[in-house]
Symmetry: C2
Subunit: 191 residues, 2 copies
Amino acid sequence: MVGVRQFNEDEVIATALDVFWRKGLHDATMQDLAAATGVQRGSLYNAYGDKEAIFLRAFDQYTGQFLEAAGHALAHADTTTALRNFFDMIIVNMTDGSPARGCLTTRTALDAAISSTEVRQRVQDVLGRLEQLIGKTLSAAPGRRRAADANRLARVFVTFTRGLAVMERAGYSRKQLKESAATFIDAVMGA
Amino acid sequence: MVGVRQFNEDEVIATALDVFWRKGLHDATMQDLAAATGVQRGSLYNAYGDKEAIFLRAFDQYTGQFLEAAGHALAHADTTTALRNFFDMIIVNMTDGSPARGCLTTRTALDAAISSTEVRQRVQDVLGRLEQLIGKTLSAAPGRRRAADANRLARVFVTFTRGLAVMERAGYSRKQLKESAATFIDAVMGA
DNA sequence: GTCAATCTTGACGATAATGTCAAGGATACT
DNA sequence: AGTATCCTTGACATTATCGTCAAGATTGAC
């Protein structure tokens, strides 16, 4: 059939996200996307222009889900519990699938050198937003932390999450990652 | 001239390291290596077999230098000072060059999915050794830390260094990375 | 019912990278 | 000197990807 768009855009983007997540922006090819979505290469070019445009849509969908999940995990009265929830969430997120998919944001950040300004911008964006979420959580902690300290510490937390993503790629197991995260929280929040 | 090897292997590997560092194992091509070293593609194939073999040699050279520098930076009586030195070293290491080269180990780890077992092994190796170096430093700290704790904490430190490497790729400046590292050390070691 | 708009499809040309190889030629050993 | 060895070089076949496009077909508007 022709003449009218034959595919559901949301489904295509969701499937594309899966492909990008498993292969990365750089390694995923239009062929991969075509095969996974069942939409011909030519149709994808016609509908979106190029691979990166598809990626940006998929990545936006991803960051939306991710930040919402992060906000939800961090929404706990006790700061330490909130942080534990948060790390559990991201570790499961990156070790899910078989083989594990890893962290899309981190993978994309590492491709930064060969990506467009727009892609880099999105990565900075999601990291910045994550930092704010964590900063809010830390600021809400009972007591003696000043706002500036909370913000600096929030960036340390974000940095550590990126480290976990790398360690996952290096072969560390979910269990090992969780142990590191727990050790980190204890050390920073004072066990 | 022909008949006898026309190039100095150490120089070629050093140059190859530079290429891999700037482009990554995956993105660097034999053409790139040939152009940078001045050795023809065919000669490189003849001498080393394939790109990955060249990479492994270059990577070994790199990790040797890196771990030595890390050991040197950590060789300070005061644990906190040792850690500061160490982080300064790795941050300069990854922000050096223009544009900055980033961290080769981290970049390679992220390529894990598309790399051979051998490459993955080297990455795990260098991270493991780094963990041991840091563990030794932490164990030597005055006082109350048990060996098991030191080892767990060492892995947290390694993880954080990986996070810094990602943040660098995401666009954070040397100054910002140093601030995060300082905040991290203070938080963990008790400021 | 006609027609313009637009989606699908398969094909095409261009580019880039890989790995291989035969020919050519210098070296070193005997 | 003769000869085997080994390196260099350029060419080749292969494969993969990209982006484009013309032809074909259907829908929806008028």
